[in-house]
Amino acid sequence: MEILNVTGLHASYSSSGPEILKGIDFAVEDDDFFAIIGPSGAGKSTLIRCINRLVEPSKGTILFDGREVTRLPRRELRRLRRDIGVIFQEFNLIDRMSVMDNVLSGRLGYIGNFRTLFRAFPRSDIDQGLRLLDRVGLIDHVDKRADELSGGQRQRVGIARALMQNPKMLLLDEPTSALDPKISREIMGLVKQMATELNVPCLCNIHDVQLATEFCNKIIGLQDGYMMFNGPTEEMDEAKLNEIYAMEVL
């Protein structure tokens, strides 16, 4: 079943700036681990950010879970964002807060302002947070400050935070670019494992093509805002790769 359907997506960062995405169409099924690859500046990050409207698309439709994302008013948009977990390249944790508080912040979309002021999350959230932290292997670091962790550990906290939302889809924006190769592989493996366990489709922006072909079942390739490839990983070959990365070779 389709969870995400993108048609004719155009986007630019400012109304007078250059167009970053020039017409993207693709669909994500609810059991996909989808990769977006392409050279730097191709628009991969922008595409990811359009899905939950961190960047406003200028044209096109995004259908997520039956909802038209581009037209949602603010409150509905917040509810939509609750259903989409995001894992960032720079982890984007709250440095001065503890690991536990960072993970719990994934439930902010579900609690009201009063609870927010006192950080009074319901017991069920706390229990789920502990279970997730145990699953990503950080149960011994629960009360450490986020900036006391290594890069790989921080990304695990990011994974736990994203999964706290019980999301219907995960967006990953170059989740391993800030990590060394061995840790990158561990993190990708962990995400894939947990996504499969918890039935969560993933849309992942990856810089490393090898990781993409290893972990993902479908790929789209972007180049300069255009879609150069859209299909299962098996169909990706040397020739098509060269086409996508042609600009880089030059």
Binding site: E2, G66, Q128, L130, L133, D143, N199
Partner: protein, 279 residues
Amino acid sequence: MSNQPSRIAGDVPIRWSRYKFPDTFLRYGAWLCVFVFLVYCVEYLNIPLDRLLGVFGRMGDIVANRYYPPDMEYIMDREYLDYVVETIQMAYLGALFGIGLTLPLGWFAAYNMTPSRRFIYPLARLITMSCRAVHEMIWAILFVSILGYGMLAGVLALTLFCTGFAGKLLAEEIEAIDMGPVEAMRSTGANLFQTMIFGVFPQIRVAFTGIAIYTWDVAFRAATVVGFFGAGGMGWYLKRNVLQIETERVAAILISILILVMISETVSAWARGKAMKMQ
């Protein structure tokens, strides 16, 4: 619709609570003490909390009726403008002499470059701290009492104030330098003074300009008011009119002070921009 995502299953691995003894207790205890103290302050000072809102209403009333319209003609008067010019002169003389004194004093008060850590350093630190701790108005009153009314008292008061204030900033800047060039200078056989000029000064030049400009700002602000206590400048007009309850003239004088300080801030912002560009 779509496949529902599953929740993670399993036992809760550990017991966790946000509230940990004794840290949480101590932290909230500290905040509670602060809160109680502040409530006590309100009590001790007899602040009428219930009448406070009425106070704002009365404030607006008084400003609208007694301070408006401001008597702008009063401040266009030739004599007053002379006083304004003198205020400006007093301000930059005070800042100038103050910065002049700061150069050696800040140097002596910097732990890494002071000639003698046992005597000169503590002495210099003491001098800058005392100059800073005593409010510029107190300096003004003291000097007026010793030297009589007039701008000499004002300039001296401003000088001492600027010395203390810029001295601390300068000492901190010097203490933050990279000691590499200093060591290089020392190994060529240069004495302390030469080391200061060639090793330290180039590093702090930009920060020093910033300090100088900031000192000017503060000195100017103080200069407009020292006259209130007899130390020369337009503050004297302020006092006269406050005592005679000529509120519309007071309003005009306040406006003139505001305009002057804003002009001075614009000038110093421009100077700061140029200093940034030149570095």
